[in-house]
Every structure is written in structure tokens, then in C-alpha cells.
């Protein structure tokens, strides 16, 4: 019997291909070149590769948004889908890679770590994230999830000389492998209940059958638990503070932005689009996750004295807000979640960028004390951090405000009044710990005497990355708010 192979449309997976091939080239270059090249060469190479992937994704975006040129379609035996949603996440992820690479450049030199391997792992991890967003099959999502995660386990332990980094890698690995296994069991149950792992076929099967089989309910639960670990939603958040605190800070920023966005890409596509007909079965689960994440994230962030740990809890509460959009299960809710992820990516990368610079040698000074008097010593840096923290708190004229506004108004529209009220109350609690950092920064400096010996430097790459983050945060919240939301709304057009 001849084996028929599916046609591979390379153009549809060009962004992923560019990232993977680029990563391989960097790896080869790093291994084969006799002379050690300066670290910035690898940073530039990594940025060019990510920018190349971005350009090819933009080309796909043009094709998707103009229907006569093909529009949204599936490719490679229906395993991969090209639609606004997948391209949106591709652009977001590549942008995050560029910002994180700029941030990591000076970090790698400061900590004397191997530059090529770092960029290789980051690019590979990003290719997994792109694959997750573009997958049209539960198994492809699983493969993307693993490519993303396995590279991130190594990145978490990249500062190998530091015990906390090794410990973070270990904790992330054990919990990550555990959650992947749970996710895969959910895939197996979905396969048993519907007879396919292809999202399109599953959706077609579910449209034809109204009743919900117990096995299908099990699949919902296992898939939510598995992805809940990846997006760090309560009660699957236990690893988050430890891993975020222990990992090298640029990695933490990358992890918080990309791993969360990829987890949400899979969660939104699977539940909103494929399991959309059975929303009454999964909405209560998402409701509970959203409420718990928002409340636990905000309350526990208040008692933290380590800024990295505090930002970890704040990212948990952000996950809760993004879940509100999914809980609404409307196109408006989905667009709100996507807009939130866009705003969140810049806010979180910028914030961890500041933490990288303030932590200085050994990545050690992450306590709240290190920020005492930052407003006098480095007014520019303090101002940038203030803007980013206010955006995370959801203050008007920043992207964070609009993000919260869109998801909460989607919840109100979907008659989830309790959820909307809880979200708004929690935003008040959250404002407290963001403001506390700002107050500490502008108080008279106690750390000033030690600061002379080891001043905070702002290298060019890191400065550029911070500038882009803060400018994006402000303009998405003000002049570019309309186009940015249109962008997110376009991306919410999913192909079933």
C-alpha cells in the first residue's frame, strides 16, 4: 500500500521555520567559530531572526485580512491553521523575543554567561509558542507546548552558577512535566469522546451531538488543568513565584510574556472555538479560575518584600483578568483577552527589564530595599518603572486601563456581574502594592551609600528595550488605542 504524505505548504509555517533555522545557525556558528565573538553579535543575529519571522508573519496577516487572497485556511493535512489569531500571536511573540534579547544582551555580559546558547534557546522556545497558536490539532498543540517548555526549563537554569537558578529550573521542570502529562491525558480523553484530535473535526462532532459525555467533561477538566499550569492560574500557580524569582531576570520577563501568551493562545482556541458549543459545561470552571487568580494574586502580592516575587503574583492576577474574556465566551470577550495580552506583554517585559538593571551583579538585589531612593539616583529609570507599574495597576491613559476595561465590559455584556465586580474590587487591592513600590522609589535614599560603589548602569540595548516597552504602553493606552483594539478584534476571527 503506498503511503500518501500530506503536502507541506511551507509558506504557512514560514515564521516558525525562520525561528528554528535561525536558532540552528546561531548554534552552529557558536560551536564552529574558533574565535569568541562579542556577545552583541549574537544579540543582533537573534533580533534579525525574530524580525524576519515578524515580517513573514506580517505577510501572512495581509493575506488573511484580504479574503480574496485565500483568507484564513488550514494547511499541512489540517494540522496547522493560518488565521488572524495565529498571526497575532506570532507577531506578539516575535516582538517579545526582540525586547527580551535586547534586555538579555547586557545581562549575559554582566553575568558572564554564554550568549549564543541563550539566544538559541529563546528562539526555539518562541517557535514552540508560534506553533501552539497556529495549531489546528491537539497533538500539534502538545508538541508546541513541549518545544516551548523544554527550552524554557533550560533557560530557567541558565545562570547555572547560582543555586536559586538551578532550583528554579528544577521546580519548573517537575511541575511543567506534570502539567504536560495532565494536558496530554485531556487530549486522550477528548480523542476518546470525539474520535479525533483535529480541532475542526472535534468541533464538527460536537455540533452534531448535544449531550455531554462524562469522558468529554473529563477532557475539559484535564485540558484546563494542564493549560492552567502554563498560564499560572490559581490553584495551579504554586510554581510561579519560586520560578520567577529564581530564574535569570530577562528569562523571567520572557517566560511571563511568551509562555503565558502561548498558554492563552491554546486555551482560547480550544475552548472558545472548538468547545464553544459546550460552553455551559466549561464556563463555571473558567469562572472559578478567574476569580481565584485575581483574588489570590492580588492579596498575596501585597505581602511580598521581593519585587520579582511581587511581579510574579501580579502576573498571576493578570492571568485571572485575561480569563474573564474567555469566561464571557463572546467575540468581544475574546478581543478583550487578546488586547489584554498585547498590553501585558509590554508591561511585563518592561517591568522585568527594570528589575534586571536594578538587581546588578549576581542578579541579587531584587528586594524592595534596592528600590529605595531610586527616584533620586536614577530619575529616568524610576519614571519608566512608575509608568509601567501604574499601567499594571490599570490607571487611565495607559494600555493597562483599557485592557481591564475591555475584559470587564465584556463580562458585563455577558451578564457575569459578580465576576466584573470582583475584578474591579481586586484592582483596588492590586493598586496598593504597585503604589507601594512607587512610594519606596521616591522616598529619601537609604541605599545611596552603597550605590556609589556599584551604580546602576543602563546599557544601550536595555535602555532601548525599556523605551519601546514604556512608549508602547502609553501610546496603546492613548493615541493608538483604536487601531490596537481593531488589531485585536481582527485577530479574534478564528477559523473553525
Amino acid at each position: 500500500m503506498p503511503l500518501e504524505l500530506p503536502r507541506v505548504e511551507w509558506a504557512t509555517i514560514l515564521p516558525e521555520t525562520i525561528l528554528v533555522v535561525g536558532a540552528m545557525l546561531i548554534l552552529l556558528g557558536g560551536a564552529l567559530l574558533r574565535r569568541r565573538l562579542p556577545a552583541w553579535v549574537w544579540t543582533v543575529a537573534s533580533i534579525i531572526i525574530a524580525a524576519g519571522a515578524m515580517v513573514s508573519a506580517w505577510d501572512l496577516w495581509r493575506r488573511v485580512s484580504h479574503n480574496h487572497q485565500g483568507g484564513a485556511h488550514t494547511a499541512i493535512a489540517n494540522a496547522v491553521v493560518v488565521d488572524g489569531f495565529s498571526v497575532y500571536f506570532a507577531l506578539l511573540t516575535c516582538g517579545a523575543v526582540i525586547l527580551a534579547a535586547l534586555m538579555a544582551d547586557s545581562y549575559l555580559r554582566r553575568e558572564r554567561l554564554n550568549a549564543p546558547e541563550f539566544h538559541v534557546l529563546m528562539l526555539l522556545s518562541a517557535s514552540g509558542a508560534l506553533l501552539m497558536a497556529a495549531a489546528n490539532d491537539l497533538i500539534v498543540i502538545f508538541l508546541g507546548l513541549e518545544v516551548l517548555s523544554i527550552a524554557l526549563y533550560v533557560l530557567a537554569g541558565f545562570a547555572q552558577r547560582r543555586a536559586v537558578s538551578r532550583e528554579a529550573a528544577m521546580k519548573y521542570f517537575v511541575l511543567g512535566a506534570f502539567s504536560s502529562a495532565i494536558f496530554l491525558y485531556g487530549v486522550a480523553l477528548a480523542y476518546g469522546a470525539t474520535g479525533s484530535t483535529n480541532l475542526g473535526e472535534i468541533a464538527a462532532f460536537l455540533r452534531a451531538s448535544v449531550s455531554t459525555h462524562a469522558v468529554l467533561l473529563g477532557a475539559f477538566a484535564f485540558l484546563i488543568v494542564g493549560l492552567g499550569f502554563k498560564i499560572a492560574a490559581v490553584p495551579f500557580h504554586m510554581w510561579t513565584p519560586d520560578v520567577y524569582q529564581g530564574s535569570p531576570t530577562p528569562v523571567t520577563g520572557f517566560m511571563a510574556a511568551v509562555a503565558k501568551a502561548a498558554g492563552f493562545a491554546a486555551l482560547l482556541r480550544i475552548f472558545f472555538s472548538t468547545f464553544g458549543t459546550h460552553r455551559l459545561d466549561w464556563q463555571p470552571l473558567i469562572w472559578a479560575l478567574a476569580v481565584l487568580s485575581i483574588l489570590v494574586g492580588s492579596v498575596l502580592a501585597v505581602v511580598q518584600t521581593d519585587v520579582k516575587r511581587m511581579l510574579a503574583y501580579s502576573s498571576i492576577s493578570h492571568a485571572g483578568y485575561i480569563l474573564i474574556g474567555l469566561q464571557a465566551a463572546t467575540v468581544r470577550g475574546l478581543a478583550g483577552s487578546l488586547f489584554y495580552l498585547l498590553a501585558y506583554t509590554f508591561m511585563v517585559l518592561g517591568s522585568f527589564g527594570i528589575v534586571t538593571l536594578v538587581a546588578r551583579d549576581g542578579d541579587a538585589r531584587t528586594g524592595l530595599d534596592a528600590y529605595r531612593g531610586l527616584g533620586q539616583r536614577r530619575p529616568g529609570l524610576a519614571l519608566v518603572f512608575t509608568v509601567l507599574l501604574l499601567a499594571q495597576a490599570g490607571v487611565p491613559l495607559t494600555s493597562g486601563f483599557l485592557a481591564k476595561f475591555y475584559v470587564i465590559s465584556a463580562a458585563v455584556e455577558a451578564h457575569s456581574y459578580a465576576l466584573a465586580i470582583i475584578a474591579m474590587l481586586a484592582a483596588v487591592i492590586a493598586a496598593f502594592f504597585y503604589l507601594r513600590v512607587i512610594v519606596v522609589m521616591y522616598m529619601a535614599g537609604d541605599e545611596a551609600d552603597t550605590a556609589d560603589a556599584d551604580p546602576i548602569r543602563v546599557p544601550f540595548g536595555a535602555g532601548l528595550s525599556l523605551a519601546v516597552s514604556v512608549v508602547a504602553t502609553v501610546i496603546i493606552g492613548t493615541i493608538l488605542a483604536g487601531p490596537a483594539f481593531d488589531f485585536a478584534r481582527h485577530a479574534s476571527i478564528l477559523r473553525l
Binding site: F142, Q160, A169, F178, Q245, D306
Partner: protein, 101 residues
């Protein structure tokens, strides 16, 4: 006499539960790691059983993907475990407590 598919599914569910509980209660990192492998193989058994019941080859093909992913996880996981335990005597998770709060 053929064994009904539900038996295999129950066995797989039991193995998965043993793996999950083992990961949560055992303190040796290597044993925890073995528990993850047990969970993944329980999923494989579930896939194969369903593939047989549905008369569909797709579920059996999935097993190869799972095996490859599990192998890749072993490589990275053992690397991380070795990097930690090169610097300390035992492999007990309770000793790894620098990060908490």
C-alpha cells in the same frame, strides 16, 4: 475471549493516578521523574485503547509523538537534576528550599 476496552481504560486511569499521586507524595526527585514517565505511558495506553475501539490509526500514531517528547524531557530533566545534585549529597526535594515566601 477478548478483554473489553473499558478494562484497559481503567488500568490506564489507575496508572495515571498512581503516577500523579506518586509525584505529589514522593520526595526523591528521580522517583518523581519516574512518576511523570508513568503518567505519560498511561496516556499512551489510553490512546492505543481508544484507537482500537474507534478503529482509527491516528491514536496509535500519537504514541510515537509522546515517546519522542518523553525522551526529550528525559534529556533536559536529567541534565537539570545532575546540575543540582553534583553539588549536594542526596536527591531529596525537601532539601531544595532556597526559594520560598
Amino acid at each position: 475471549m477478548s478483554v473489553p476496552g473499558a478494562w484497559y481504560l481503567t488500568l490506564a486511569a489507575l496508572l495515571f493516578t498512581i503516577g500523579a499521586v506518586g509525584l505529589l507524595v514522593r520526595r526523591n526527585v528521580l522517583v518523581m521523574f519516574m512518576c511523570v514517565e508513568l503518567m505519560l505511558n498511561a496516556v499512551n495506553l489510553t490512546f492505543v485503547t481508544y484507537a482500537r475501539m474507534l478503529n482509527d490509526i491516528g491514536g496509535q500514531a500519537v504514541v510515537f509523538f509522546t515517546l519522542v517528547v518523553a525522551a526529550a524531557e528525559v534529556v533536559v530533566g536529567l541534565g537539570i537534576i545532575v546540575s543540582i545534585y553534583r553539588r549536594r549529597p542526596g536527591a531529596t526535594a525537601d532539601d531544595i528550599t532556597l526559594l520560598k515566601g
